[in-house]
Structure formats: C-alpha cells, structure tokens
Symmetry: C2
Subunit: 334 residues, 2 copies
C-alpha cells in the first residue's frame, strides 16, 4: 500500500509509492523497461490482453470491450502511484501526518495508431480524448474520498514518458496538491478584494495588450503567461468563466479541441516536435466555496532543465520573454 505523507513544515503531501522499487540499483540508469521488452506495445490494438481491463472506450463501429476497434481507450495504470481499494486511515505520528495512499491512476490511450501524436489527430478525434477526460472525472467525482483529479500528459522521453504510444494519465487524490492550492488561494484573495475572477481579468488585459496571445477562437484563448516559467510555456483558457472542466458540454469541448490542436501544431512547427508536458488545472472536487476558480490547460515544451536553483527555491529562470515566444508561435506557418 502506498503512503501519503505530509511535510510538517510546508504542508505539502508526497506519495511514497513503495511498491514500485526495492533496491538502489533499480533507480540507476538504464532503468528497467516498463512495458514488455519484446517490442510489443501494450497500448496497440490487438494487445489489449497486456493491459488491465478497460474502464471506458470509444468504439464507433461497436465491438467487445478489451478488443480492437477503439479510438480512445481508458485503462487502470498497471503501475499505479496510488491504490484504489481501501480506506484512508488518516493518522498523526508525533509531528507527522499520514494516510494510506488511496487514489485512482488511469491511462487514457489517445489513438490506436502507435505513430500518431496528439497534434496529428484531427480536431474531432481530439475532442473524443477531451470527452474521455470529462467522463472519467465525472465518474470518479462520485467517490467521496477524492479531493482533486489531475489530468496530465508526458510526451516524449525528455518529458517523462516511459512508453511511446500517445497517452495521457489521470490521478485522483484524497488531498489538494500544492500548486492548485496556491492558485485557489490567489483566486480567493482576488475575489475577496474585487469580487471578480482573476483569470477573467487576465484574459481581458491580455486581449487588449495582444502581445502574448498565441491563438484565439470564439470560446478559448491561448496565451504565453506574463510570468512564464519556461520558454514557450502556454496556457489555454475558456473565455467564459467556468470553474470545472467536467462541466463543459460537447460544443465547448469542440472549440477546446480546435484550439489545442492548433496550439500543438504551432509548437511542433516552431520547436521541431519537442517533448512536452500538458496539465489540466481544475477546481477541487466537492468544494462549493470555489466559484472564483477558472479551469485551464497548461502546456510546456521541455527545452530547459530543472536544476538546483529551481528545485531549491521554486524560482524559475526563463531565457526567452513570453512576448517573443508568442510572436514565434503566432507567425508559424501551419
């Protein structure tokens, strides 16, 4: 059973996933392959037996679960960071606080084609991926043990992907992690001061200034943030205030898929198909006191390395101004 432990000084929760690795040697490069060594891809159609049984799948032409014919397929992670069965058993041990590492850890297979990337998908299929995100959040939200659901994607080995076949992941947690919490606190403070959503205010100012807008459509805007931590970091926000991604209807997800597709293709063009991370920032679950939050997607190509300064201080050095990044992305021919 993994452990969730709270740092007594900063309050941040850490997942101690002790089931995964036993000896120091297992941590040294080269790390053991996580999929079968033979070259078989467990995420390819026809290999469904290599994965845990599916939770959800889109099969436009019908067909049996755990068989080929799917366009999007959601499965439990075979090496989960958290375990879904059990009770939290919160406890204090002197200064320290812990609970059982309860949570859900799922994998969203975005395409049956081993070589296709998210940027290659036509927007209608990308919309299917976003619908799978929404439907899994909506389902997991009914489990009252969970407080936050993170949906994220590692594309390419430098961004942390351990398997090539295009996929995203979802982790449902019984705690709210530090960065969403910091965003919530910032939103709450602004709402208290001004009775407005800070993200709505940012969108308005960015639309006026225009220098950091990458691409725009009637429902969404893609910006390079004013205080971007990474080169070519981007943020996709719904223009109409909305705290929770899972409240999006199909019409909104269609616009979201369109802007995400264009954003990824512009990034691929300017940066020669880089490794990247994508994260959904969403409101915590079951919290009716958060009308002031505003969901968004954050995307960052992995071009620079996190080193001691960033890790030790939380302060980032970005070698390119977001206005410059936005200009390159805007002017890319796609």
């Amino acid at each position: 059973m993994p452990d969730l432990r709270r740092d007594p000084v900063t309050g941040r929760w850490v997942i101690i996933a002790t089931d995964r690795i036993l000896r120091p040697q297992d941590l040294l490069p080269p790390q053991p392959p996580r999929g079968p060594a033979s070259g078989l891809c467990p995420f390819c159609p026809g290999e469904e037996r290599l994965t845990p049984r599916e939770i959800l799948a889109h099969r436009p032409a019908g067909g049996e679960p755990n068989s080929p014919g799917w366009q999007v397929r959601v499965i439990p992670n075979k090496f989960p960071a958290l375990q879904v069965e059990g009770t939290l058993d919160r406890e204090g041990i002197g200064l320290f606080d812990r609970m059982n590492g309860i949570g859900a850890h799922e994998v969203i297979l975005e395409t049956p084609d081993h070589k296709e990337t998210l940027a290659d998908l036509p927007p209608a299929r990308l919309e299917g991926v976003l619908r799978a995100f929404r439907d899994r959040i909506t389902d997991l939200k009914r489990d009252m043990r969970f407080r936050y659901i993170a949906v994220f994607k590692n594309h390419g080995a430098p961004a942390g992907a351990t398997l090539d076949h295009s996929h995203s992941q979802l982790i449902a947690l019984p705690v709210i992690p530090p960065l969403p919490l910091a965003e919530l606190q910032g939103c709450r403070q602004h709402y208290r001061d001004k009775e407005r959503c800070i993200y709505c205010d940012v969108i308005k100012q960015e639309q006026r200034e225009a220098a950091r807008v990458v691409v725009d459509n009637p429902a969404f805007t893609c910006l390079t943030p004013y205080a971007a931590r990474f080169p070519f970091e981007m943020c996709i926000l719904p223009k109409h205030h909305a705290k929770s991604f899972e409240d999006s209807d199909d019409g909104l997800l269609e616009w979201c898929a369109r802007i995400l597709s264009e954003t990824l293709r512009r990034m691929d063009r300017v940066l020669a198909r880089p490794a990247y991370n994508l994260v959904l920032h969403n409101a915590p679950l079951h919290d009716r006191r958060t009308p002031f939050y505003h969901w968004h997607l954050e995307i960052a190509p992995r071009l620079t390395q996190m080193a001691a300064f960033e890790w030790g201080t939380g302060c980032h050095v970005n070698p390119i101004a977001p206005e410059e990044s936005a200009k390159f992305l805007r002017e890319a021919e796609i």
Copy 2:
C-alpha cells in the same frame, strides 16, 4: 536587462533572462556549449583570464589575484541570470507586477583540480568552500536591495551542470522565492502555536525514532525527510537552533564539512556517484522577525524525472521510502 515578473495568481516571481537566447533554435538540443569549445576549462588554474575577475579566493601560499595557486575561487557568473548594476524600478502594469532583474550571480570554484568532486575533498578543504559561501553571503547582505541569497550546486549534466569542473553558484535576489517563503510560513505558524522551532522539534523526533537518521555528529544531523520528494533525498541540519548559515563560526563549519563529506561519500557509494543537486535553505536577509527559521542543506540525487504530474501539481511521487534510503546510506561502507 533581465526582468523579474510576478505571476498575478500565485504571486511567484520569475526571472525572464532575455539577454541569453534569441531564437527558438538556440533552445533545441544540442545546446551551444557555454564554455570555450576547444576543451580548455575556464575554471582550471592557468585559465583565469577566461573568467570575469575574481571576487574572493583562498591562496594558502599567497599570490596575485586571477593567477593560479588558489584552492577556492569566487567569480561573477559570465552568463548571469540577474544583473548587479541598476535600480529595481518596481512597477505595476494593470494586473501585472514587475521590477528590473537586479541581483548577483556568482560561481564558487571548489577545487583547482578539474577531476576532483566535492565528495573527494578532504573535510578541511570542504570547510574552505563553506567559508567562501559564508563570506560571500556576509558581503552581499550589506546590499539592501537583496532579500534572499540562494546557494546551490548542480553536479553532473543530468542535474543541470553545464561545466564539469566542480563548482557551486550563488544568486542574490530582491524577492523571497516561493519555497523558502512556504518554509518560513510553516515555521512562523508552528512558532505562533507552540513557541518552538519546528525544525528543532523534527530533529528531536527523528533522533528518537532513528529510522531516518543517515549520519550524526555532535553539531549536525543528516536525515532523509519523513515526506521526502525524491529517492535518497537528504537534509543536513545544525542540531543547535540557528536561523542563518552566515552566523556559523569556523568551529561549526568544521562539523558541517565533516557531515557533508560523509553524506556525499555515502551517497556516491550507494548510488555509484550520481548526478545531484544541493541547496542551502537560509533565512531571508534583513528580517528580524524570523527567529523561528532554522537553516539547513538539502541534497537530492537526480534519479527520477520531473514530469507533468509533479510540474503541474507540485505533488511528488517517491518510489522508495525514506526509511529504506536511510538504511542503505547508513549501511554503506565508506
């Protein structure tokens, strides 16, 4: 001139170091070499002309500045993240806040020997490095523009080092970065509640439980933190309460050098000389309201990769329990 920009939601400051890179191509691998391409090491004795003029050096047998004969040498970073000359010119632009990227960025050359690592140094020479840290902080502290000084080390390319020759860095900032700020807030809260230092409390509990103690001497203890974010993450703390590293006398630095040396050698033994990061966590400057802070060193070998989940949520997954890490380190034969 670099820019310091504040994220309007989370309040975190980011350094936009626009002088460094101009085109997207410059960010793509392979990155341009930062030292001379010829194989000359600018940090080796005899090559002093390749670096900016030194700020401090230890020359036990005497000798001219910027000539060989040094054991420790401190120079300005040739590619500084912040610029030392100028005024802050704080301003607001609508929702956004910025100031000029004013600060100091120095490099501490830890040994004249190109092949020697910090772990190879005899403790007496390691003490010389720690004295250089202390003396540079004491000097920079007189500059009232600075609020925080970060001292850190990237060892090995996977940990972000761009030059092989063993060195640390120092960045003086006009703001307090997010992680030290979070630690300060945690310390302040505990002090308000209990009138005790939380790090002192942690040390006492860890000494009793013993499971996470790696090595101990009369003045310092080295622990794997209860909620360690990384495998084999370690924390070296002075046992006697002290908020600021730079208040350490030579006697204390001697004990610090001894425990740091042993810690690094144990880590090298268990993990086959890994890449690692080291960061000094110190009290902010000029803040008399922080008697409750407790300085410490954090060390983490770079064995796992930061990916979207960690980056997007601030929540870490550690695949090995700190009790296990501590046991391997304790039992290593050095």
